[in-house]
């Protein structure tokens, strides 16, 4: 049955970029559909308690909650008048480009509990992918113990549930994002034994002029400094966690100093005991499955992440496909909102019969300037917070790298040496890295680094992101593809 509705613009994701894109496109007269994996809008950045049980979120755990409320008001207003159709709790598992636009196949995020209803197939002339990203991970001995989580996962847990996934935490990795995670833990009543930042913050000095041009509201750091002082959170720079210890859950971590070349310093090890939760985050990986599946041109950004190539209108190399937020370069929520507005305007304009060129140009210039400022800041951040060059030194042969298929660093080293597995794709064939449930989303970056000789190559990262089916679906859902083709063929003749 091809009863799917056809929209002018489809938006994937309802985080900062998606909310902005959807509200903007609908405001400008487009018929918009928005699909998001979560039960309610906000994305990871503005994830909040369920609105049915906690309708009055005061935004105390959030940064720039006012912007969220403003975007949400526009989003809800568009939904109220019927120019925006929102399908929460559903994920797009396949996207295809056809003559008159895009076909999206969706599935419920959960098959149990309150499985979200929605159309299996959605069609639209223009597509804006605002899929966001998730914490990038580096394997470390013991990181598969229960109690170890992605730093963003700890924050999501707190924001969504109002509770903590542990009592005494260590937050480790690199980047300014570690600060709000630690602050959220402390404000929710948890103890933070240490925040371990691998970078030496002097990396910011060459970029201070760039950073100073960013409006204060984008600079989260200053707020968190206060929180760190209040809760006495130790912030240790040039420090990494080299091992997580415990039998059936986290009990302690071992830390070490790293030198200016990112290599661990012998004899600098310290043990932090009585820890029951650890959060790791090494920057972010953009959710690139759908853009890659649609054939969008990609590049490796300053942070080493694979992102989509876009023009000044957030338009990708694929006609009608726009990318906004992390998928066009990891840069945080403030940049994502601006990119969402730009993409929403452009997508709506290309479907509209009338054009309002004169009115647009001044606003276009203003938006472009704003995006440029935020991007310069993001670049400074990426350069100041690199993945430490010596991270592979922490691995032992028995350290798990691919969590799903339980492939160890030793397995990978052996395949590289004896089986010429020098890229992520060959490594997958030889060792099963990235072949499990997550399809390499978690280990893809690390495996690309381990297989290669100089970091993760673009080719490896592209092969990791190449997933025609972007989330696991049931066989019956795959069969709907077949049924529909048969039905469409029969109706044609």
């Amino acid at each position: 049955m091809s009863s799917s509705q056809h929209y002018d613009v489809a938006i994937i994701g309802a985080g900062p970029a998606g909310l902005a894109a959807a509200a903007t496109a609908a405001e400008r007269g487009a018929r918009v559909v928005c699909i998001d994996a979560n039960d309610q809008p906000g994305g990871q950045f503005w994830r909040h308690r369920p609105e049915d049980t906690h309708p009055e979120d005061d935004g105390s755990l959030h940064h720039d909650w006012k912007t969220y409320l403003r975007l949400r008001a526009g989003f809800d207003a568009a939904a109220a008048v019927g120019s925006l159709c929102f399908y929460p709790g559903r994920q797009v598992w396949m996207a295809q480009r056809e003559d008159n636009g895009f076909t999206l196949r969706t599935t419920a995020s959960a098959q149990a509990g309150r499985a979200a209803p929605g159309p299996q197939t959605v069609r639209a002339t223009q597509l804006v992918v605002c899929a966001g990203g998730y914490d990038r991970q580096l394997p470390v001995p013991g990181w598969d113990l229960p109690g170890v989580m992605a730093a963003g996962g700890i924050q999501a847990f707190i924001k969504a549930n109002g509770m903590l996934p542990g009592k005494r935490f260590v937050v480790a990795g690199t980047g300014p994002f570690l600060l709000p995670v630690a602050a959220n833990i402390a404000e929710a009543g948890g103890a933070v034994a240490a925040v371990c930042e691998s970078a030496d913050l002097t990396g910011w000095f060459p970029h201070l002029a760039t950073a100073a041009r960013v409006p204060a509201k984008a600079l989260e750091g200053t707020e968190y400094a206060k929180s760190f002082l209040k809760h006495r959170i130790p912030y240790r720079t040039r420090t990494v966690v080299t091992e997580v210890l415990g039998s059936d859950r986290v009990q302690a971590v071992r830390t070490a100093k790293v030198d200016s070349h990112g290599r661990t310093v012998q004899g600098s090890e310290r043990l932090i005991e009585d820890v029951d939760a650890v959060g790791f985050g090494w920057g972010f990986t953009a959710q690139m499955e759908l853009p890659v599946a649609l054939g969008a041109e990609t590049r490796v950004d300053d942070d080493g992440s694979l992102v989509g190539v876009v023009d000044s209108q957030q338009h990708s190399s694929v006609p009608g496909l726009y990318l906004a937020g992390e998928v066009s370069g990891v840069g945080g929520a403030a940049l994502a909102v601006v990119e969402g507005v730009i993409a929403g305007r452009a997508a709506a304009a290309s479907t509209a019969a009338q054009s309002s060129a004169a009115e647009s140009s001044a606003a276009d210039v203003r938006l472009a300037r704003k995006a440029g400022t935020y991007r310069a800041f993001a670049r400074a951040m990426h350069l100041a917070h690199p993945v430490p060059a010596g991270w592979q030194d922490w691995l032992r042969p028995e350290t798990t790298v691919c969590r799903c298929e339980e492939v160890t660093a030793g397995d990978i080293a052996a395949a590289k040496e004896h089986l010429c597995a020098t890229d992520a794709r060959t490594m997958k064939s030889m060792t099963r890295t990235g072949m499990g449930w997550c399809q390499g989303k978690v280990c893809g970056f690390a495996v690309s680094c381990l297989a290669g000789t100089e970091g993760a190559s673009a080719e490896s990262l592209r092969s990791v992101a190449k997933r025609p089916v972007s989330v696991p679906v049931t066989l019956s859902e795959l069969l709907t593809l077949e049924d529909e083709q048969v039905l469409e063929t029969t109706t044609d003749h």
Partner: protein, 91 residues
């Protein structure tokens, strides 16, 4: 204020505030792992917390392989998973 939801984990009572996910309900009831890996039998629980890693898979109301971080706890829900202490216990 929201009310309490009553569910079960491996037939034992599991109570949590309305609005929590299955993963959060398990964690706050002292269950930190509910799956053992296929090869090594290692315990796993929440990791990415946002639906990406599939480490937190659990059986909910007879539906296998549900992401505990994505499913919201509802009244009478039957959750089944590996007991936390069954991994590599008999050494």
């Amino acid at each position: 204020m929201s009310h309490k939801i009553n569910a079960t984990f491996n037939d034992r009572p599991l109570t949590a505030e309305d609005g929590t996910t299955v993963g959060a309900a398990l964690m706050t009831n002292g269950v930190t792992s509910w799956r053992n890996t296929r090869k090594e039998g290692r315990p796993r629980g929440l990791f990415c917390g946002i639906g990406v890693c599939f480490d937190c898979l659990v059986d909910v109301d007879g539906e296998p392989n549900q992401r505990a971080c994505m499913v919201r706890l509802t009244e009478g829900m039957r959750i089944n998973g590996a007991e936390p202490d069954t991994a590599e216990e008999e050494a």
